[in-house]
Each structure stands twice: as structure tokens, then as C-alpha cells.
Amino acid sequence: MAADAREGEIVRRLVHDLRTPLAVVAGFAELLDQRAGELTDEQRAEYVARILDGARQMDEILGRARAGA
């Protein structure tokens, strides 16, 4: 029971922590997917950089969760 509760707590925290980079990755992927024709080269490069940084943040969060599991 205690393990279940702890797992539940971790999952809730993960959902919370992942929400920010997830929104960034998904949001800028959407802009690249749907608005590519309207974007300048500079904007495209910026959005790709934001996606890569968001993916790196999610990897770090998952790494910390694995280390603490």
C-alpha cells in the first residue's frame, strides 16, 4: 500500500514536471507542422531549438526519476 502511494506521488509529480517541456515540445512542433509556410528561417531555427531544449529537459526529469526510483 505504501509503495502504491509512493508510486502515485511520483506519477503525479512527473505529470506536473513534464507538463512544461511537454507543452513547449508539442506547441512548437505544432507550429512547425501547421505554419511552416508562414515562418522565417530564423523562426524555424528558434522553434527547433526550443523543441530540442524541451526534449533535453524531459530527459533530465526522467533521468532524475529513474535515479530516485
Partner: protein, 234 residues
């Protein structure tokens, strides 16, 4: 089932919306989760908003469920002009800011981007969930809270006062005007200010006429929107 880039965000958003409404995700109106990312060009850089794609369809679905018109789900000119004014003249880092009736939260995002400590509020829980996701999308931090003036006005005032109070096009009902007359003076700190954007609604004229007794008022106009700055008299 098709998967697009926003599938995961839609899931996260749907969970928050349903939890705040106290219903299951599959009971939400479909138009609420048909979302897109909008880019708003402002001085200091673009801001990105997550918002429902088809406002008319959302209004239709909410109407059929006897729920209020989802005014929060549009970016109205007043919100855009207030955000632009803030982007031109941003609050100093650390400034305590509250936005009331924030809707999609554009002015709050601009204030938070400048380093202000922002509380974003709206009377509709759906707006709160969307604003939270847009803050995340812009990688800025702010608190978000569901605040209905008539129910939570005292609780909000107790959390203040704030150096800067933001409100865009919130005076569209007589009830809102009365609540604002009672609440706004209690939200702003001595030496602080209220920035109010309004498309010349009768309610705003009534509020400003009453506020002149206790506030220094300066106003300017950008197109159809008037921007008012109210500073408490010392």
C-alpha cells in the same frame, strides 16, 4: 486515430479541464479540446497562446449545455492592446502583478516574461487551465487561480495588495462593474497602479467616473481600445 503534435498537450489540458469542472474528460465539449497554437507578435518577442480553434462551435456546444458564453476563449482587442502596452513598458522584475478576468492570459504572460511575480485569475475554470498551459508554452512562471469576484473577492483581496493590477475588457456587465468598484481599490498597493483596457463600454465609463474620487486617471487610445492607468491618490 490520428495523432498530431498537440495530442499530448490535449491530454494534459483535458485532464485539468475535467478535474476543474468536476466531470469526466469524455464529457467535455469536443470544441474545447480542438486547440491550436497562435503566435502573437509583440515588442520584445513573440508570445504563444493555446486556444480553442473554433470559437463559434465552442459557443454553440456550451449553449446547448446551458453553460455561459465562453468569452474567455477569444483573444479580444483589449487583451491584445494591454499586452502590447505592457510589452512596450514592462513591469520591473519582482513587481507583484495580478490579472483579473485574464482569459487566455496574454497580458500575464508578458508581465511574467519581464520577471514580474504574477497571479493570473479568471472566473471560468476553463480559462485557468488554458492560461496555465500557455504560460508553460512560453516557459514563464506564474500562479494561476480560479477567482469569481462575487465568490472569491474577499479571498483575493486578502492575498494582496499588488503593485500592478491588470484587467482587459472585464466591465461588460453591470454586475462586473459593481464588483470591480468594490474590489479594484482593495487590490492595488499604495504607490501601485491599475491598468485597464476597455473598448469604451458604458460600464467602464461608470467605473472611471466613480474612481476619479480616489485615483489619478490617465487615458490614451489605441484604435478602438482605451488604455486607462489608475494610480491611488496619496
Amino acid at each position: 486515430m490520428s495523432v498530431d503534435a498537440l495530442t499530448a498537450v490535449r491530454r494534459s489540458l483535458g485532464e485539468q479541464l475535467a478535474e476543474l469542472r468536476g466531470i469526466a474528460v469524455d464529457e467535455l465539449p469536443p470544441a474545447l479540446l480542438n486547440v491550436f497554437v497562435r503566435r502573437i507578435a509583440l515588442p520584445g518577442g513573440d508570445v504563444f497562446l493555446l486556444q480553442p480553434r473554433d470559437w463559434e462551435q465552442l459557443r454553440h456546444e456550451e449553449g446547448a449545455a446551458a453553460r455561459p458564453v465562453p468569452y474567455w476563449a477569444c483573444l479580444w482587442p483589449s487583451g491584445r492592446e494591454l499586452a502590447a502596452a505592457l510589452a512596450d513598458d514592462p513591469p520591473a522584475p519582482g513587481t507583484r502583478v495580478v490579472e483579473i478576468g485574464a482569459g487566455l492570459g496574454l497580458p500575464s504572460i508578458v508581465a511574467a516574461r519581464a520577471g514580474a511575480r504574477v497571479l493570473t485569475t479568471d472566473g471560468h475554470t476553463d480559462a485557468v487551465a488554458f492560461a496555465a498551459h500557455s504560460l508553460a508554452l512560453n516557459e514563464v512562471e506564474a500562479e494561476v487561480a480560479h477567482v469569481d469576484w462575487s465568490e472569491h473577492g474577499e479571498a483575493l483581496a486578502a492575498r494582496g495588495p499588488w503593485d500592478l493590477v491588470l484587467a482587459a475588457d472585464v466591465l461588460y456587465t453591470l454586475r462586473n462593474v459593481r464588483a470591480a468598484l468594490d474590489l479594484l481599490p482593495r487590490l492595488v498597493a499604495p504607490g501601485g497602479e491599475i491598468r485597464l483596457a476597455d473598448p469604451d463600454r458604458a460600464g467602464a465609463r461608470e467605473l472611471l467616473a466613480a474612481a476619479r474620487a480616489t485615483f489619478e486617471l490617465t487615458s490614451r487610445r489605441d484604435g478602438d481600445v482605451a488604455l486607462h492607468r489608475l494610480v491611488p491618490r496619496g
